[in-house]
Amino acid sequence: MTTIDVTVSAAVPKVLEAPAKKRPKLAETWWRHVVGIIACLVALFPVWFVASAAFNADQSVSGTSYLPTRFTLHNFGNLLHNTIIDPSSRSKIDAPFLHWFGNTLIIAVITAIGTVLISAMAAYAFSRFRFRGRRMGMLALLLVQMFPALLTVVAIYLIILNVGSIFPQIGLNTYLALILIYLGGAMGVNTWLMKGFFDTIPRELDESARVDGATPAQIFWGVVLPLALPVLAVIGLWSFIFTLNEFVLASAILDTTSHFTLPLGMQGFIQNNYGQLWGPFAAGALLAAIPATLLFAWLQRFIVSGLSQGAVKG
């Protein structure tokens, strides 16, 4: 995208504009800045109030203001304990925030790695081999992907319940069950995306490796995967973010508070307590958001260019 941009502006001299002007004057662009600033304020609105509440000594949401009235790190300290005391009723609320954070990381990271490996292997087969059922297989993947996975949750629950009665290792309330379920959806659109990328890796590279005596497995691990690292990173991140946000399957499989993922835990924690526990919730939300947000901001350009490139080509 940027390359097109650059070449175009280099090739067409700006006839109509004064050539020396590098930056447009503020007089011309002031309204653009006004729009930009308003948009940024709207975008930052919730972030600002969450940050303010997180550092505010008044835990209730009604104490929230533009700036913390009394600055404190107490809300963050609170998260290190497994229980938080409700200031109004003095009752203890089970909130093992660090557990939730750790559970989510474990589940999301393993799922992301598994997804990348599984879909890369499938994509390699679809991209490099010609076999019977190849086209059908790819179309079937696409079709299956359109079935709202969320709604098979009853069937998935029953399967895990029954399997778990014999093999408790992959039964209800285990991470392994949840990870396997997520990995069931690893093929599908991911495979399509990766196959497209693999197709752009010149086959001559495979050929020369094969002439040198490499097996297909060696070509896959040694030639194709290293060249496909950008797309692997994007798919991995995508899977990570999806798992991080996933609510329904996790709520069907995990049922003790200490096993919860962040969405389950934080939803349960705040659902009836917006009034009293806003401060600790805000602190938790802030901490939970930072790693994912940074990761996303870093990799976002790849996702975007992939999306719009594909679109523009058509």
């Binding site: 941009d5 800045h33 709604l151 705040i270 719009s308």
Partner: protein, 513 residues
């Protein structure tokens, strides 16, 4: 990195493969052993065939190459996607729901038990709960009229030989060969006692309290030959009505059983007003929600892109980085935070702007909130995409239009927008399909609520997918898996149609990405 990977591929790669295969086989043997202890022979056969097939595919020298790369994904896909889909389709044609979960035989037994009622002058017993020598739960009974002693089990009533039990103060206090249960022990077997029946001919003796029992007589008789229940008092015949129930003049006996009902679930969406009305409301709202989200997000995103896409403008990068934040923050957090900010009692929004809007507690305001929040979440996506698409439109075109005397609005309308739509069009459809099924957005913000009293499980902001989820699992009003599965299939057809439209327009997936 490449060197590291290739180090694992040569002979080492072969070793890794053998190790992994051995692990898989060891796991399969262990699983077979566990299954054998439970006598699941079919499962063992399936396991053996699967493991054998995998071994064969990975060890064969030629002809199985693609399979080697496809197996891991396919196995998981089959287990956690294909089988559940098949099951869901199957359930869509059944009446599987609360009250229709048993098999027909189980249902008949249940009906026979629940039909037991005390007679006009019932025979009553003094009772003690005990365990026999082998630990089985039994009832020690003394007929209050005849003072005869019995021991009752689910198999029937047996007289106790005189002298083996002691009765004092109207209570059975001990019995040879039996251990009486007291206090907390009784509490532990409470569940069992509630369904405990000692059959006596067609009648049955049931516990009334922890120390009394009463003989109940059946009000219904099952005629196994005709397969009907007959009410003993008036001879009314309850026939199998084909919907998994015995019914007489439209009044069913409970419980029913799970059975295939053909396309009844689908036709009830069209014909049954109690199903149709909420379904239609949810259906229309789903389209409004997804459509409005995409429309506003695209309009605002495009406007921002056009405004900020001025070459050489200051702070461009800063604006872009900030505007992307709503997209980058994990969605579930944003939604939970917005639910707090829009809270009408404590919410920041109402207090900052000094207004008093029931954002989440009034049906229409809740709908507005859903669209506002999902637009807030989606604008960055369209902002970034539009920005990219705008920059890829060659400047010659707009220059040429300007030379030809087009005004800025005309140029936008006739040149920029059409070109932009070619690029962004498929993403509009994708985004529509995504929001069409955006469960989190609804469930974490409003939980589908507010609900209307007396209108079933559908709340004002429920979209099809959250409505279905509630129907199946989370309503508290009983579960209707059959109807939920039928609606799932409808959602699937709509999503598939939308996606096909999107793909057909661009062939995105043929080459892209």
């Amino acid at each position: 990195m490449p060197r590291l990977i290739s180090a694992f591929s040569g002979t080492a790669g072969f070793v890794v493969k053998i190790v992994l295969l051995s692990l898989m086989n060891a796991l399969a043997v262990w699983a077979a052993y566990v299954l054998a202890t439970r006598h699941h022979w079919t499962a063992i056969a399936v396991l053996a065939v699967a493991a054998g097939l995998i071994d064969f595919l990975y060890l064969a020298r030629r002809g199985t190459l693609p399979a080697k790369f496809l197996i891991p994904g396919t196995v998981l896909l089959a287990a956690f996607v294909l089988i559940p889909i098949g099951y869901t389709i199957d359930v869509a044609f059944t009446n599987y729901s609360t009250g229709h979960v048993l098999t027909k035989t189980q249902a008949i037994q249940q009906i026979e038990i629940t039909s037991l009622q005390p007679a006009a002058n019932p025979i009553t017993y003094t009772m003690a709960v005990a365990r026999d020598g082998s630990g089985k739960l039994v009832l020690l009974l003394q007929n209050d009229a005849t003072k005869k002693l019995y021991v009752g089990t689910p198999k029937g009533l047996k007289p106790l030989s005189p002298g083996t039990a002691t009765v004092s103060g109207g209570q059975i206090v001990s019995a040879t060969g039996y251990t009486l249960l007291h206090g907390i022990q009784l509490f532990d077997v409470d569940q069992q006692l509630q369904s405990y029946v000692v059959p006596v001919g067609a009648a049955g003796i049931r516990p009334q309290s922890s120390s009394t029992a009463v003989e109940l007589t059946p009000t219904l008789r099952y005629d196994a030959k005709r397969g009907v229940f007959i009410r003993i008092s008036d001879g009314a015949v309850f026939k199998d009505d084909g919907n998994g129930e015995f019914a007489f003049q439209g009044a069913p006996l409970l419980p029913g059983w799970k059975t295939y009902v053909g396309t009844k679930n689908f036709s009830s969406i069209i014909h049954d007003p109690t199903v149709r009305q909420p379904f239609l409301r949810v259906f229309v709202w789903t389209f409004v929600f997804a459509g409005a989200t995409v429309f506003f997000s695209f309009a605002i995103g495009l406007f921002l892109a056009i405004t900020l896409d001025k070459r050489g403008m200051r702070f461009q990068k800063l604006y872009r980085s900030i505007l992307i934040i709503p997209w980058a923050v994990p969605g579930f957090l944003s939604l939970l935070v917005w639910a707090g900010l829009l809270n009408d009692q404590f919410g920041v929004v109402n207090r900052i702007f000094h207004i008093n809007v029931p954002w989440l507690f009034d049906a229409n305001w809740a709908r507005v909130s859903c669209i506002l929040v999902s637009t807030w979440l989606t604008v960055p996506f369209f902002f970034v995409v539009s920005m990219g698409a705008l920059q890829s439109i060659p400047e010659e075109l707009t220059e040429a239009a300007r030379v030809d005397g087009g005004g800025p609005f005309q140029i936008f309308r006739r040149v920029t927008l059409p070109l932009l739509l070619v690029a962004v069009g498929p993403l509009l459809i994708t985004s529509f399909a995504f929001n069409f099924n955006n469960f989190n957005n609804i469930y974490l913000l409003t939980r589908g609520g507010p609900t209307f009293t007396g209108s079933g499980v559908a709340g004002a902001t429920d979209i099809l997918i959250s409505y279905t989820y509630k129907l199946a699992i989370a309503s508290g009003l009983g579960n209707d898996y059959g109807l939920a599965a039928a609606i799932t299939i409808i959602i699937f057809l709509i999503t598939a149609a939308l996606s096909t439209a999107g793909f057909a327009r661009t062939r995105v997936l043929e080459e892209v990405v």
